[in-house]
């Protein structure tokens, strides 16, 4: 059997945003190409709702707002446009108010599973670190109590690991501290 399919998979930002409202699955957009996202596990959902509650409560009275996994992040790197769905974002910029996405988050969270590890560690950190607004990138391991935080410093980035349920992961921004016991509440480790 031989078959040669010649396809141009390119879609514009407008086409993406239009079709994304109707798409059965969330899709990320990297410079014209779209990638479907996999569904989330039970642990992922638990961590996600704990995170929402912890960060949401902490920010309740202030100007900053927490968004969960259904809010898009839009970023433009050297004329190429990207849309990601981070697992969480803290947005503090009052001028960053599009109905479909945020562009200048202060903190980004990803809940890492084996299937998204290389994306979260390599590709997304590469993209997120180009955001001038970003102060901390927080990766939460799903299968073990470990939080890895990349913090922006004057001279670049520093990476911190917080391991064990008694750890408290200090984001170093907005006074957010995540106690791992609460972050992983109800999560059963393998």
């Amino acid at each position: 059997m031989s078959a040669l399919a010649e396809v141009t998979q390119f879609i514009t930002v407008e086409e993406y945003l239009e079709t994304e409202e109707l798409a059965p699955r969330k899709r990320e957009y990297l410079g014209g190409f779209v990638y479907e996202m996999a569904g989330a596990s039970e642990s992922h959902n638990r961590i996600s709702s704990n995170l929402h509650r912890l960060v949401g409560n902490h920010l309740e009275a202030g100007p900053c707002e927490f968004f969960g996994a259904d809010m898009k992040l839009k970023t433009q790197i050297a004329a190429v446009t990207y849309f990601y769905y981070p697992d969480g974002m803290v947005s503090c910029d009052p001028t960053d108010q599009d109905k479909d996405y945020r562009e200048r988050p202060t903190v980004i969270f990803e809940i890492t599973s084996e299937s998204t590890r290389s994306i979260d560690e390599r590709e997304k950190f590469g993209a997120y670190r180009q955001l001038a607004s970003l102060e901390a990138y927080v990766r939460i391991e799903q299968l073990a109590p470990e939080v890895i935080i990349d913090r922006r410093t004057g001279s670049g980035w520093q990476r911190w690991h917080f391991t064990g349920l008694d750890s408290i992961a200090d984001l170093g921004v907005l006074g957010i501290k995540l106690g791992l016991k609460k972050l992983y509440q109800r999560v059963v480790f393998p």
């Binding site: 059997m1 399919a5 790197i77 290389s118 590469g126 911190w160 690991h161 917080f162 064990g164």
Partner: protein, 191 residues
């Protein structure tokens, strides 16, 4: 110990290049952080060898060379330095002459395995597309006869998929072609 707080060392480019010569496992470098690479399967190695043979004569005619998976690609993007080990690179630019790495390949190849599929299809694809020298990005499947060629055009990227050992993939650069029966010579596909 149940609570632990540790900090990673970030490597400078000089430290990376100096230590990379001595390490046992190849590491890719993304803005100060290194990632070890997995070893290759026999199938992967056979495909890389076949690729070299299949392109040798044609490349000689073009005055270019094919480098294999031991050669680094260096690029710098908005102040961040990266080093990758692509499975293959066609290099034609005579000014791209640093002996330690390539900077301006015309064609980049990756042989896809399940453990690298996501990186090859998203992160590396995005990176290679951004490099102005790259005219084509070629992904070679390992467990079935299939080659995907993404070719730069005036209006973006044109994607062509070649399936079946009787196909001949056009690389979209210098008139180069890759007959799939040559690329997959000696490979037994899983039933």
């Amino acid at each position: 110990m149940s609570a632990l707080r540790t900090q990673d060392e970030l490597l400078s480019v000089e430290e990376y290049l100096a230590t990379e010569e001595r390490v046992l496992v190849k590491r890719e470098y993304l803005g100060g952080i290194v990632y070890e690479m997995g070893g290759a399967s026999r199938t992967h190695d056979t495909i890389v060898g076949n690729l070299r043979l299949a392109l040798r004569d044609a490349l000689r005619g073009l005055g270019s060379r094919l480098h294999g998976p031991e050669v680094k690609l260096n690029y710098s993007f908005l102040g961040t330095e990266y080093f990758y080990y692509p499975d293959g690179m066609i290099v034609c630019d005579p000014t791209d002459a640093d002996d330690r790495f390539c900077e301006r390949p015309a064609v980049v190849f990756e042989v896809i395995s399940e453990s690298t599929r996501t990186t090859d299809e998203r992160e590396k694809r995005d990176t290679y597309h951004r490099l102005p020298s790259v005219q084509a990005y070629v992904r070679i499947e390992q467990h079935r006869p299939e080659i995907v060629v993404e070719q730069r055009t005036g209006r973006g990227w044109k994607l062509a998929r070649f399936q079946g050992v009787e196909m001949v993939a056009e690389l979209g650069y210098g008139g180069l072609t890759l007959p799939l029966d040559k690329v997959y010579e000696d490979i037994v596909f899983p039933a």
